[in-house]
């Protein structure tokens, strides 16, 4: 049996939920797939206050934003939410195969918004398979969803926003953070996050990385060393820290497998975290049925994901002939302006550079490899 729907949104994080909410009064049928057993994606673990402007709920904690969006979503009777539902593959005849609560479903949709988010990157070093080595996202899930601390003494690898925020959350959970180690010469995350952990006494070591982990059957410590300007370890600079947990916050990679299967033109864009689909300024990919939003379009933060979700949602439902098209066009322009404003400053520089390489209109195609699935 095949389920038919006007709009299918894959991923119930901030981008996916925002996309679905645009269809509120559209009269269109919508299915939202979420792999986990609750909506919210990474938002539900984010217990810190968000940056951004007042309109984008700045100052509100991520988990509170997730709950508010979910409550709004529950009011919509044209939306079906499938939890514990994983998109397995995209097939000819526009069929998306889905494993939903242990049964297989085939879904056929006029438009599909892929808001699958991103996966954590791994770091290569000897003994990186010892128990006690976690991704920062996994640590957040353990602590903030399951109420379990990963260990007692942690070294954090990566001083981007995720590394700094998760370090702070570890401290809040009563875990000792021995140090934050960052390979780059400078802290990558917001300095206010760095200052929050510095004043608790956690040192941040820049220009250093893990040489190896050690331990008998589990992590007992880590050897750090300094890096030269070619990112090579400097022999003789090693020092050991006794820790039982190594937390890796070394970046995220967009999850774009479905888009590749759907034949969307892709480009490798380091500034956006890896392979991402080319898209027009409405976030439509080169496959006319597919839109992309959120981290799957390029690793950014949740405020941008929400705005991208709104943009993709509005664009898709406009194409599908939603009611009140004119007011939606106005809304779409507003969302685009907000996204531009958000990315305008110095912290948006990397994203802006990345986005120049993925435009379907204009000069996409230079300085990149692309394939057509």
């Amino acid at each position: 049996m095949v389920l038919y729907t006007d709009l299918l949104v894959v991923g119930g994080g901030p981008a996916g939920m925002a996309a679905v909410l645009q269809a509120a009064d559209s009269g269109l049928s919508v299915i939202l797939l979420e792999r986990y057993d609750q909506l919210g994606g990474q938002l539900v673990k984010q217990t810190h206050r968000f940056f951004g402007s007042k309109d984008e709920q700045a100052g509100t904690r991520g988990n509170v934003i997730a709950r508010a969006m979910e409550e709004e979503l529950e009011q919509l009777d044209n939306v079906t939410v499938l939890l514990e539902a994983t998109a397995l593959g995209y097939y000819e005849d526009n069929i998306l195969l889905v494993s939903a609560q242990h049964s297989l479903k085939k879904i056929k949709a006029e438009r599909i918004i892929v808001a699958t988010g991103a996966a954590e990157k791994m770091l290569t070093f000897p003994n990186n398979d010892l128990p006690g080595i976690y991704g920062a996202g996994a640590v957040q899930t353990l602590m903030n969803l399951d109420g379990v601390v990963p260990g007692r003494r942690v070294v954090m690898v990566g001083a981007g926003n995720i590394g700094l925020i998760v370090s702070y959350q570890l401290l809040q959970a009563g875990v000792e953070v021995v140090a934050v180690v960052e390979a780059a010469r400078q802290i990558g995350g917001y300095l206010v996050h760095a200052a929050k952990i510095s004043r608790t006494g956690v040192p941040i070591y820049t220009g250093q990385t893990i040489k190896r982990a050690y331990g008998n059957g589990e992590v007992e410590g880590v050897e750090l060393w300094q890096l030269d300007h070619n990112w090579q370890g400097i022999p003789g600079s090693e020092r050991s820290l006794a820790v039982d947990t190594i937390c890796l916050a070394v970046g995220l990679r967009p999850l774009t497998d479905i888009l590749v299967q759907a034949g969307c033109q892709m480009a490798y864009v380091p500034q956006l975290g890896g392979d991402v689909p080319l898209r027009d300024d409405n976030l439509k990919t080169s496959n006319h049925r597919f839109y992309v939003a959120g981290d799957a379009a390029g690793v950014e933060e949740a405020t941008a994901a929400i705005l991208e979700g709104e943009l993709a949602g509005l664009s898709a439902i406009l194409e599908l002939g939603a009611k009140e098209g004119q007011s939606l066009e106005v809304k779409k322009r507003t969302v685009k302006k907000k996204l531009d404003k958000l990315r305008k400053g110095p912290v948006g520089e990397k994203i802006r550079a990345g986005l120049l390489k993925v435009r379907r209109d204009g000069n996409a195609g230079k300085d990149r490899y692309s394939h057509t699935g």
Binding site: G52, K54, A58, I187, L191, H193, A195, R199, G345
Partner: protein, 167 residues
């Protein structure tokens, strides 16, 4: 250096501080926000419109110290926990600092806490004067700590009671 260590230096701070004259007039907010990030809740939280209008969401906040009353409404609304209120007029020999604090257990008014500087080094002790934790602060408590006048610009964090292992 701030970008390497996360610890603001006196140089970094110099542009953020009000004049000595203003400090002697009573409580005032210090906004220790150093990177232009897309963020403006401080502006919206101020009942006295003491923050300059943001031309761009990425602007650094600029506080008009003549309008700031040191009420502290901005402290719990700053997502970076980067705003502190200092009051050099609290007592003849002690000043007051209002610090955002998101750790448990919360300190209790009337008790002593260990005071820490921006690097997390212990400076001394402070007396907890008041702990504000209303629903509207959404779990960011604001702790009022009295410290010797010479430590008002240094103290930026507190340690309550014993470590997590003994708790």
């Amino acid at each position: 250096m701030l970008a390497k260590t996360g610890i603001p230096t006196p140089d970094d701070l110099s542009s953020k501080l009000p004049s000595e004259e203003r400090l002697q007039q009573g409580p005032v907010a210090i906004v220790e926000c150093f990177t232009p990030i897309p963020c403006d809740p401080c502006y919206h939280s101020c009942p006295f419109k003491a923050f300059q209008v943001f031309q761009d969401i990425n602007d650094l906040p600029v506080l008009d110290f003549t309008k700031c009353t040191g009420c502290g409404a901005c402290i719990a609304h700053c997502p970076g926990l980067a705003i502190f209120v200092v009051d050099y007029t609290y007592q003849p020999d002690r000043g007051l600092i209002k610090i955002p604090y998101e750790f448990l257990p919360l300190p209790v008014a009337g008790t002593e806490v260990i005071t820490l500087n921006r690097s997390g080094e212990e400076i001394g002790q402070g007396s907890v004067v008041r702990v504000q934790n209303p629903l509207s602060f959404d779990k960011t408590a604001v702790v009022w700590v009295a410290v010797p006048l010479t430590e008002v610009m240094a103290v930026r964090h507190i340690k309550v009671g014993v470590g997590p292992d003994e708790r």
